[in-house]
């Protein structure tokens, strides 16, 4: 870096008190040419500062030309630049001058790196809105045309994202040109460009006149949906959603449905996956009649697709599909045309499929009502609760609230309990962690009695789990349970058990007592805290393990605000003072911190 002297005005020279207004551009130029990318990045990120300091006119005449010429840099710098320029309209003098920002953004929209290009397009879209209609046609549309007929694929790709923003405000002649350009990009030689065009097809269709949609967009859609590359075809599925919303049922049936049917049976699983993934959107877009005639059979096929990926995506949509069916006849359709396939999926060979189903299947109970749920769904829930894969069981348990509303959780409790117990003791701590999170919910739904009888011991067992994350979660769980069941319950059921652990030979368990007290004290209130918890905490100040002692200090700091002044002054203060003299550095530190926070000094 020895030879890195910046050309032009050196920073030292510019530092004098000469003309202040000359100063920013000199700094920027110097910084932008710095060896260190980080410094270049910094100066780009402060571009608005520089522009503001320069004023609008000099920003237009000096800064922007400079930036346009400087575009050669690392992608990270370019990204920052592309982003900045999107918000620059005010800094160049408002909407009348927004077009000044186009040249640098145009170059940025042609670079190779996708993130830079995308950002440049985003900024261009933003700026397009700030153009007056005249400026739009004079400056913006020509830019789009230039990009659309660029040599290298990057500029054509970028152009795809700009048609829809300039179309609505263009004159008819220009509109025709814009459509023409879009058309040619849809059949571009390079698949990257066709993908970009396909992904913008829906957006473009929305701003077009209905006639043009029918006469131009639909053929483009049909072509893209039968492209030789599946990566293009699948994007057409997305466009299908937007296009379908624009057309009448009749046109839809004639113009779009043949293609959509074909997509649902595409030879590439990626396309079928896309259909499954966009199913709810498609369903809403085509309306109830076509849904019944076409989409339901297609959905059945997707549910039994040969690729697990596709089945899983379809399984995810089961509930939404059912919800969105017209209320009239819904039950019959679900019972006859959907449920048989769902039953198959419960015993699918792939765990992701089962797990996807388990995450939504409970939602069907509200749609089908009590009787059907008990008769048809309950056996499925129970089967999934016994599934070999923990995720499946967890997904069922985590959605219990839906069933609760319909049939009450009691129906399930017999099967629920073994499933919970098994998950609670799962060898993977993350599974245990996940089930802990549902305990408050379960407690609320199963009731205090059932909980005390069956689940309380589990909750206490987690407190001595050998994984810290579980002990921590168990501690927070206790607090939530107390919030649900009240302080009396806490006093009788939880607090004694927690306090017993203060005498545990394992110091980690003794610390767990302190952690529990930290969270329980607030939920339990002053009386229980002062009478039952405080004595134990104070006693633990004499623990031989320093970690326990400094946690005593932390606990005291935590529960201090709940105690009354007497307890603080007479009981807490002496103990903290003693800890403040501890031989261990950490204990001392936390004791002193507690003293100062509690203002006991």
């Amino acid at each position: 870096m020895a030879g890195a002297a910046g050309p032009g005005t050196g920073p030292g020279a510019a530092g004098g008190d000469g003309d202040d207004s000359l100063y920013p551009i000199a700094v920027l130029i110097d910084e932008l040419r710095n060896e260190d990318v980080q410094l270049r990045l910094n100066s780009i990120k402060k571009l608005s500062t520089i522009a503001l300091a320069l004023g609008v006119e000099r920003t237009r005449t000096e800064l922007l030309p400079f930036l346009t010429d400087t575009i050669y840099d690392e992608d990270e710098v370019l990204l920052a630049l592309a982003e900045q320029l999107g918000n620059f309209t005010g800094l160049v003098g408002g909407p009348d001058f927004a077009h000044c920002l186009l040249p640098p953004l145009e170059s940025l929209a042609t670079v190779e790196e996708t993130v830079v290009r995308d950002k440049a397009v985003e900024s261009l879209r933003q700026i397009s809105q700030e153009h007056t209609p005249v400026a739009l046609e004079a400056h913006f549309v020509p830019l789009v045309k230039r990009l659309a007929s660029g040599d290298w694929f990057t500029s054509r790709t970028s152009a795809c994202g700009l048609f829809s923003v300039c179309y609505p405000r263009a004159s008819n002649a220009v509109k025709a040109e814009i459509r023409q350009h879009f058309r040619s990009l849809c059949s571009d030689d390079t698949p990257m460009v066709r993908r970009a065009a396909a992904s913008k097809l829906g957006e473009f269709a929305k701003v077009l006149e209905l006639d043009s949609v029918k006469s131009e967009i639909v053929p483009l859609f049909t072509n893209l949906a039968s492209d030789e590359q599946d990566s293009v075809r699948l994007l057409a599925v997305e466009a299908c959603v937007s296009i379908a919303q624009l057309l009448s049922q009749e046109d839809l049936e004639a113009l779009v449905m043949p293609t959509l049917r074909q997509a649902a049976e595409d030879k590439s699983w990626r396309v079928r996956y896309m259909v499954a993934d966009k199913f709810s959107e498609l369903q809403k877009a085509v309306g109830p009649k076509i849904t019944l005639n076409d989409l339901i059979p297609a959905f059945q096929n997707l549910l039994k697709d040969c690729e697990a990926e596709v089945r899983a995506a379809a399984a995810h949509k089961v509930k939404e599909l059912c919800e969105n069916l017209p209320a009239e006849g819904r039950e019959t359709i679900i019972m006859n045309q959907i449920l048989p396939f769902i039953k198959e999926l419960v015993s699918d060979t792939n765990q992701h499929v089962k797990s996807a189903l388990a995450s939504v299947i409970m939602g069907l109970s509200t749609i089908l009502g009590k009787e059907n749920t008990i008769e048809h769904l309950l056996p499925l829930f129970l089967a999934q609760l016994k599934d070999e894969c923990p995720e499946v069981r967890l997904n069922i348990i985590s959605n219990l609230d839906c069933v609760n509303e319909v049939i009450g959780i009691r129906q399930l409790s017999q099967s629920l309990l073994p499933a919970i117990v098994e998950l609670a003791e799962d060898a993977k701590w993350r599974v245990r962690l996940a089930i802990i999170e549902y305990m408050p919910l379960l407690a609320g739904q199963l009731g205090m009695e059932f909980f005390d009888e069956k689940l309380n011991s589990l909750c206490m067992a987690w407190l001595v789990d050998h994984v810290y994350a579980i002990r921590e979660a168990a501690t927070n769980n206790l607090m939530k349970l107390v919030q649900k069941f009240g302080t009396e319950w806490a006093q009788n059921t939880i607090v004694p058990k927690v306090l017993v652990m203060a005498n545990d030979p394992n110091y980690l368990h003794r610390m767990t007592t302190l952690f529990c007290i930290n969270v329980l004290s607030e939920a339990c209130g002053q009386e229980i805290t002062t009478k039952q918890m405080l004595p134990i905490v104070l006693k633990m100040a004499g623990d031989q393990v320093a970690n326990v002692r400094f946690n005593v200090a932390k606990s005291l700091q935590k529960i201090g605000p709940i105690l009354d002044t007497d307890a603080l002054q007479e009981e807490v203060k002496p103990v903290l003072q003693k800890l403040g003299q501890d031989e261990d550095m950490d204990v001392k530190y936390f004791a002193q911190e507690a003293i100062s926070v509690l203002a006991l000094a």
Binding site: R270, A313, V353
Partner: protein
């Protein structure tokens, strides 16, 4: 473009529920699952249940009149596909097809005159029916080709023989491209190229040889093949970051580049600069770096004037955080320096050695070591010596600093040797630099301070302007609201 890559999205949607449970074990679960089964081809089976195969008479037992007819019958028979995911179904038919394929392979490789014009259509049809298929979703969305076992193609017992047959067909002395080009056309090649994404390395290996033969024999397809590879690479770099067959395609390209006529066409140069160089940014560079570097060096051997843009390109994409990749880049630079012309070297020595100077002071000792190894290279050493006046000032600061403070003793020892070598090259300059070292550092520090100072002042200026602006904000506001009403 995010939506254009559902293979990854697809899998992640399916596992999102499990992810919150246990991100770590998921892999092992999937692994266990994979050991149980290999992957089937994602054929969207519309064939229904196929008829059972019945063995046809052996070709060698047929009279020469019947042979041709029988050959075609057998080819048609081999168009029927079987489900290898189900290891117990159609055992008999599968065996018949296997035996038939074996027979076909032998038939075309040992007999002359059997590949007649009328057979081409059936041959290509049979090959297409078997190998062209949509590749299944990856079993493991975060498949790491360096660590994970690849998923093997379940139908390999048949597909392997089909590839074998394909190769014998292409390599047969009777093979006539002028006839074959009616069947082996752009669409065919396009499908063939998509198969390079197969996770099965055995399949990719066959594909590599097949494509190479096709490129060699079908002059009319060459430009098309290059363009499609170009597109695959661009998709790989800028869209999906995933394609299993990059190394294989690069290997083919290596020999293609070797055969380019001089002067190089603009198309080829563009490929180098806009595809091969950006390819260095890929996450999985380690998997194909050797092949990539080979291609780059091939280009430079063809046309030395490309050296400067190539090296500048590499410097632009120089890895910032990945030491493993940095070592690879250094390796490639050394390969390039091995063939560089002294006049070209002069053009890039400054930016290049600035980078090397950063590398030698890397705290990652492998990076530092790899860079310091340049001084063991006789040719590089001679280039350095010729340009010592330029290079020593660039390198000196870093080397001097490392010799004092690098944590790794091996590096320090290497640096001492390098310093010694450099000193011997120009003792006077070396002494000057040593004595000015401290002053230089201080100057840098001062510059640093000045920079901070500058930004502070600029910030003040901004505040001042903002204040002025605020004062006139009311006026601006009323103007704006007027225009928006119109």
């Amino acid at each position: 473009m995010s939506s254009s890559s559902p293979p990854v999205g697809a899998a992640s949607a399916a596992i999102s529920a499990s992810e919150k449970v246990d991100g770590f074990t998921r892999k092992s679960v999937r692994k266990a699952q994979r050991q149980k089964r290999s992957q089937g081809s994602s054929q969207f089976r519309s064939q229904g249940s196929q008829a059972e195969l019945h063995p046809l008479p052996q070709l060698k037992d047929a009279t020469s009149n019947e042979q041709q007819e029988l050959f075609c019958q057998k080819l048609q028979q081999c168009c029927i596909l079987f489900d290898f995911m189900d290891s117990v179904s159609d055992l008999k038919s599968k065996e018949i097809k296997r035996a038939t394929l074996n027979e076909l392979v032998e038939y075309v490789s040992t007999n002359r005159g059997v590949i007649v014009e009328s057979a081409y259509s059936d041959i290509v049809k049979m090959i297409s029916a078997n190998i062209f298929r949509t590749l299944p979703p990856s079993d493991n969305p975060d498949f790491d080709p360096e660590e994970d076992e690849p998923t093997l193609e379940a139908s390999w017992p048949h597909i392997q023989l089909v590839y074998e047959f394909f190769l014998r067909f292409l390599e047969s002395p009777d093979f006539q491209p002028s006839i074959a080009k009616r069947y082996i056309d752009q669409k065919f090649v396009q499908q063939l190229l998509e198969l390079f994404d197969s996770e099965d390395p055995r399949e990719r290996d066959f594909l590599k040889t097949v494509l190479h033969r096709i490129y060699g024999k079908f002059l009319g397809l060459r430009a098309f093949i290059r363009k499609q590879i170009n597109n695959i690479f661009l998709r790989f770099i800028y869209e999906t970051e995933h394609f299993n067959g990059v190394a294989e395609l690069l290997e083919i390209l290596g020999s293609i580049i070797n055969g380019f006529a001089l002067p190089l066409k603009a198309e080829h140069k563009q490929f180098l600069m806009k595809v091969l160089i950006p390819m260095h940014t890929a996450k999985g560079l380690a998997l194909f770096h050797a092949q990539l570097a080979y291609c780059v060096v091939q280009f430079l051997e063809k046309d030395t004037t490309l050296t400067e843009p190539v090296i500048r390109g590499l410097l632009k994409f120089w890895p910032k955080t990945c030491s493993q990749k940095e070592v690879m880049f250094l390796g490639e630079i050394e390969e390039i320096l091995d063939v560089i012309e002294p006049t070209q070297f002069k053009k890039i020595e400054e930016p290049l050695f600035k980078q090397i100077s950063k590398c030698v002071s890397s705290s990652h000792f492998q990076v530092a070591e790899r860079a310091l190894y340049f001084w063991n290279n006789e040719y590089i050493l001679s280039l350095i010596e010729e340009n010592i006046d330029k290079i020593l000032p660039i390198m000196f600061g870093s080397l001097y600093k490392i010799s004092k403070e690098h944590w790794n003793p091996t590096i320090v020892a290497l640096v001492y040797n390098v310093l010694k070598t450099l000193m011997e090259m120009n003792g006077k300059l070396f002494d000057d630099l040593t004595s000015s070292y401290k002053a230089e550092r201080q100057r840098e520090k001062k510059k640093e301070l000045e920079r901070e100072e500058l930004w502070k002042k600029l910030e003040e200026l901004k505040l001042k302007k903002a204040l002025e602006k605020q004062n006139s904000a009311y006026n601006m506001h009323s103007i704006l609201s007027n225009t928006s009403d119109e």
